[in-house]
Amino acid sequence: MSTKPLVKPYEALRRETLARDRGLREKVVSLDEAARLVKDGDHVAIGGCTVSRTPMAMVWSLIRARKKSLTISRSITSTEGDLFFASGASQHVITSWFTQGIVWGVSKVMRHYTENKLARFEEWSHMSIGLRYRAGAMGIPFMPSRSMIGSGVGQLVGSDLKTMTCPFTGEQIVLLPALNPDVALIHVQRCDAYGNAQLDGLQFMDIDIAMAANRVILTTERIVSNDQIRRTPDQTRIPFFTVDAVVEAPFGCAPHECYGVYEPFFEHLDHYAEVSKDPVKGPQKYLEEYYYEPRGWPQYLEKLGMEAVLDASRRGRSVHND
């Protein structure tokens, strides 16, 4: 899909947005149905960061639906990036940092796929990824900025990064190309059937990717009534007209965390780190057991185990309420 221009032409951006059904309508679907909104070759932006508020149920659903040639982007990429590579769903991840997490060491799976040139990890600085989404959200073709210059990271993205002399001050400034993903996957604590989403705690880049994307699939711990949303409209972060599908997926980030609801499933993540020491057979076995075999999301959670679910919940709910 490298034929796509780096920055989506403004005319196309507006035309595609206009073509979407933006009316106040119910859009609750299943994980399987939501996966059909993602086409092979799409650029899919993933909400959350590292092991936090990862829209894992949709990642799981896309991999089960055997999607191909996806371009994945995310602020920081953890185990879901390994699984996109290992499942063959993606050979291209755009992110600032890619490994399960510092405490688990460098991802053997990421290393295997990138060092053997089976897949590409396109590295941008964290702020630059964020500003690229923000430019996309603002409907402008680029964002001026002041990092990545003078470094190998800047050199490696080559002509995708430009510099110019500021017309006002005369100083050298970096220009970051806007990122308008085809689809954004975002998990929230609650939203209504229309897609008015309220998210607690750390927002990461989720609001910008919702605004930048051409389609948004929301998964949520809980679907609440529109009346409930209207009691606290100040808590709504994503407006319904940017959202194309709503899926109720309790524990939809497991084994990652969802702020105020559950913390990471640490024992499972230790288990994944152990399994993925064999970067080929490890994730294949893991995908078979946790992704392809379970009949549905509840059966996946059953595999994680009741004890693990309860433990993660107990820790999760105590963040500001202990």
Partner: protein, 260 residues
């Protein structure tokens, strides 16, 4: 675990790093901290002499206080928000660096060179790397936009003449090259290791040893460094970690996730 001994206390290399790094903080500073030793050091500083020090996390947190025994696995989990003043989107917390609200960025390092450039992207040639490392995260932004402290183990393979790849720019090629490459602000201020504390020459921006930890000789530091170090005319000896500092550290990280 290698324990280094003194009559008063035994401690690991990571504990020594955390204690020495904590003493570089100043009360009232806004510190952009990475996970692991940087977070432990900033928290230690808050406990002992810098109660008004504010920690920022890349995940978007302003002013958290970490709960002992519940250290976050990255800067992006709910554990990072405990007793904080505010949570922001990632992009906006990073923009505080660009706007100029941050006094010090503080992180760990995989590989560093004589001009303080850091590599966390590739070991070997970036086109055909021997090892693909996790990458910059916010490291490039922090090092491009503010003054930096780096805490890392002092090993020859980590202290190289030129890094394989500049992930997070220090003084680039020394002299005025950082400014000339388009980075007029910030720069690497201190490198703290388990052997010494280093700064950079004002003009050439080459790495310079400022202080040695107890029992460490200049020869030991040079031997563990892959390039020729400068030594300050008056080299200080650091005060060894105090028992209460070590106790506080062990209380924060009882399972020694980051201090083994």
């Amino acid at each position: 675990m290698t324990e280094q001994g003194s009559a008063k206390a035994t401690y690991t290399a990571s504990e020594l790093l955390a204690v020495m790094a904590s003493r570089l903080m100043k009360d009232g500073q806004i510190v952009f901290a990475g996970i692991g030793v940087p977070l432990l050091a900033a928290t230690l500083a808050q406990r002992f002499f810098a109660p008004h020090l504010t920690i920022l996390f890349e995940g978007g947190t302003i002013g958290p206080f970490i709960v002992p025994g519940e250290l976050p696995p990255s800067t992006n989990e709910q554990r990072c928000t405990r007793r904080s003043n505010m949570v922001l989107p990632i992009t906006d917390v990073l923009l505080l660096l660009q706007r100029g609200y941050v006094d010090v960025g503080f992180m760990g390092g995989a590989q560093i060179d004589r001009f303080g450039n850091l590599n966390s992207s590739f070991i070997g040639d970036s086109a055909n790397p021997k090892i693909r490392l996790p990458g910059t995260g916010g490291g490039n932004d922090i090092s491009s936009l503010t003054n930096m402290i780096v805490a890392m183990k002092h090993e020859k393979r980590r202290f190289v003449a030129d890094v394989d790849f500049i992930t997070s720019p220090g003084w680039i090629k020394g002299g005025r090259s950082r400014e000339e490459r388009g980075l007029p602000q910030g720069g690497l201020w201190r490198v703290v290791t388990d052997l010494a504390i280093m700064g950079f020459d004002d003009d050439t921006h080459e790495m310079k040893v400022l202080a040695l930890h107890p029992g460490v000789t200049p020869e030991m530091v040079q031997e563990n460094t892959g390039f020729k170090l400068l030594f300050d005319r008056k080299i200080e000896t650091t005060e060894p970690p105090r028992l209460e500092e070590l106790e506080a550290l062990r209380n924060l990280d009882p399972e020694r996730v980051y201090t083994a």
